[in-house]
Structures are given as C-alpha cells and as structure tokens.
Amino acid sequence: MTDHVANGGLAAAESQREEASVNRAAAERGDAPLLPSERLWGFWEFTYANSALAIATWAFLIGGSVGLFVGPKEGIAAIIIGNIVGVMLTALATTPLSGRYGIEQFVALRSQFGYNGSRVVYVLAVVVLTMGWLAVLAMMFGRSIDGLAALSAGEAANPTGIKMIVAAIGAILVTWFIVAKGPTSIKFFNMVVSPALVILMIVMLYLILQHRSFAELLAMPALAPPFEDNTLNFIIAVEVNLAAGFSWWPYIGNLARLTKNERTAFWPNILGIFGAAALGEIVGLLAAVALGDSDPTIWMTKIAGPVIGIVALLFVAFANMTSMANILYTSIVGLRQVGTASVRAISWGAILFLFCVIPLGLVVFYPQMYDGFFIFLVWTSALNSALAGIGIADYFFLRGQKLDMRSLHGPQENGPYRFWGGFNPIGLFALAVGFGVYVLVFNPQTLESLPAFKYLTASVPSCLAAGAVHYVLTRLFARGRGWGFYP
C-alpha cells in the first residue's frame, strides 16, 4: 500500500516535471513570458552572446565601407559616434521591457502597433531584413571558404563561383540544424566562438600594425570619397554606423528576454554589441585603407599570409554562423507570435527551414546582392530608427514602464490592444512619418541630402520625429477612444 502511494506520488511528480518542461520550452520559443527563474543568461553570458552576434564579417565590411568615405582617423570617430548612439537608442527601445517581463519582442509590440500592426512591422523589419542578412552572411561564409580553398591550393579565389554558393548553402543548412536544437545549443556556440573571435580581432590589429605604424595609418586618405565636402563625407560615414547600430532592433529584444533582469538585459549591449562591433569595424577600416580592399575575405589572406590567413578565414566563416544562428532564432521566435494558429502549428524545425528557403534562393539566384550590402544596410535604418523612437516614447513616456502580461498574451480580438481592427493607426502613422523624414533628409540610394543632414544625420531626426508623433497623437486621441490600455 505504501509502495503504491509512493509510486503514485512519484508518477504525479514526474508528470508535473514533464508539464513544467513543456511549458518552459514553449516560453523559450516566445509563446509565454519567461519567468525570472527560467532565464538563461547573466551579464557575461549575454555579453558573449552579443559579441558573437556583433563580431562577424559584417563588422569588417561596414568598417571597409567607412574607409571609402573618410580616412582612418575620421573613420574611427564616425564608428564610435554612430554605433554608440544607434546601439544605445535601440537597446533602450527593446531590452528594458524584455529584461523586466521576459516577454517576446513582437508580443510586446502589440502594445505599440496593435496585434495586426505588429505583424506588419514583423514583415517589414524582420522578414525582409533577416532574410537579406541570412543570405549576405551565408555568402560571406561562402567567400571565406572559397578563399580558404584557394589559399590551400595556391590558386586565385573566385568569390562568385560554385564553391562559394555550395558553402553558403551549407552554412544556411548548418545554421538551421543548430537553431532547431534550441537556445541552449546557441548559448554553447556563443560561449566557444565569441572569446576566440575577440582574440582574432586583436591578432588582426597586431598584424596590420606590423605593416604600418598607427600614426601612418591615421594619416592615410579615404579610398573613394564621393564628395569634395569632407564634412558631408564624414556625416555619411556616421550615418552608415548609425544604421549599423539601429540594425540590431529586430534581434536584441528577443535575446534580452533570456537574461535575468533589466540591467542584465541592457548593459551587455554596450560592451558586447557596441564594443565588439566597433572593434571589428575599426579592424576592417584600418585593413581596408592599408590594403586597398574593403572585402575581408580578400584582405585577410593578404595581411596574414597563408597559414594564419587560413585560421583567420576559418574563424570568420564560423563567426558568421553564430550571427546567423542568433538572428534566425530571434526571428522565428517572433514569427510564431505574429503568425496565425496554422503558422504556430508548424513544428519548430519545419518553420525554421521554411524561413531559410528564400535566403537559399537569394544565395543561388541573386549573389549580386552581396555587393549592394552597404545600401541595403542604410535603407534598414530608415525603418529601425523610427521603430526605436516609437518604442522609447511608448514604453517610457506613455506607459510608465508597465505592460499588462495578461492582455498581451490573452485572446486579442476583443482585448485592449485591438485598437482599430488590430492596427494602431497612430503607431503606424508615426512609423511612416519617421521613414519619410529619413528619406527626405538623406536618400540612401543616391546619397542626396538636405543641408540639415550635415548637422543632424538622418537616423536621429527620424527617431525623434517618429517618437514625438507617436507621443503627441496618442496623448490626444488614443485614451479618449479607449485604445491600447494607456494609463
């Protein structure tokens, strides 16, 4: 009898443990807020994760692009100014709320744009952006592997050849496999690769300084300045870096929800994202100017020689994969929340693979997009800077840092975040205003700008305009209509 009762108790406890495990896995995927006791990351773990996200060949490429506009001294200043402002505003808009409530970023976004509006924002900011980035990063991986093969065989590299395409496809598929295993595998990958990459940065910097002294490097001119006006060239370089800083908007909120509290969610972005990205960009800038080529898969072999070059390219290839894993994970966590019930019914592995289909297509059929990467980056800032402004205005100034977990996760059709047919016209209008202000002040396609651009940049006015419009119109119209559960 005693054994029977004991066995029954054990079975019940086992069943409870299983249920808790299933619920926790669902919360990790974003279906529910993560409880403080379920969060994975402390300060250093999140710093490693952020560093792994930031240190990829995109940092080298952005640094190289900066070298086209200005010399290294102005370039370093532009990298620091653009990144600190962009990262600070983006982190402020996304991470304190994720760190406080463990909430998935696009569920939280229902409070700003409505439950259907958050879907629109997801498509604009994540689907287009992440699919593009996945393809570009995979191609960078492919180019690194192609460079490695060429270096080993003593042949010339063919960065658009079949080896690059096959390796890029392989990178996407391996990333899919890693992310399908869940955030624990991403954490392991980050903890191993990230510190190694910081060491690689320092080695690269050391090798560059063996070729030329720091003073010589600082005195070198820009590779291809587009305008005679040096101030305009400098502000464009700042704008490129603001775009890089704001480009973390779709990702860091969903990583920050895995951290233990608000402070742990916010400050590692400054060390991990700003610090690591700025270091990577500065290395890319100095190398590009010193060696006359902004493509890291080319200058690395030039600067490091065959043996260290192979090791460096290998590391950089895998650095791209850590970035791909992080952005793919956060994007799919978001997709499950903004998607319909049928989207959520698709298994985790299958939905990941479906998301990878378009990047695979881009790698195979449109490898030219790699060369337009810099314009693609700056366009994204027209959207991300406005989103950051709206996020700060809404969470800090309109809601007093309070979100209602019950309403955000409950049925939406008759809930307080229904707004107008599931869309918050105020938030979406503010987003359109921010985007419009950006393109009016600075056109990323043609580099044409208003005189104000030289003093204000384009991302900062876009962020301020979107935030101000959202704040004022919400105060004037939303509360009276009972929209959005504003206090």
């Binding site: 600190i84 406080r100 608000e262």
Partner: protein
C-alpha cells in the same frame, strides 16, 4: 494552443506571477536614475570626445 484550457491556465499563472511581482515592487535588477544618467554621460562623452578628436 489558444483553445487549450491548460495552456490558458499556464498563461494566467505566469501573468499572475508578474502581477504579484509588480504589486510588491519586487522586480530585481531594475534600471535606476543612476543607470540612465550613466548611459547619457557615456554617450555624450564618446560622441563629443570622438568628434573633437577625429572630425
């Protein structure tokens, strides 16, 4: 999952935990005025320092 009563109960349980933490002001590691002042000073120092050094 939305129609699943057990899941709705689980969502309710999690929401209740956060409501209790909020009501008792028991959020750990919250950002304070010191954090916001520090980030402002850090940003201004880096922007102005870089501007005067490099621009």
């Amino acid at each position: 999952m939305e129609n699943d009563v057990a899941w709705q109960n689980e969502l309710g349980r999690r929401a209740r935990i956060y409501e209790d933490i909020e009501a008792g002001h028991r959020f750990e590691g919250t950002m304070t005025v010191l954090d916001y002042a520090s980030m402002t000073v850090l940003t201004l120092a880096l922007v102005l320092g870089s501007w005067f050094w490099g621009a």
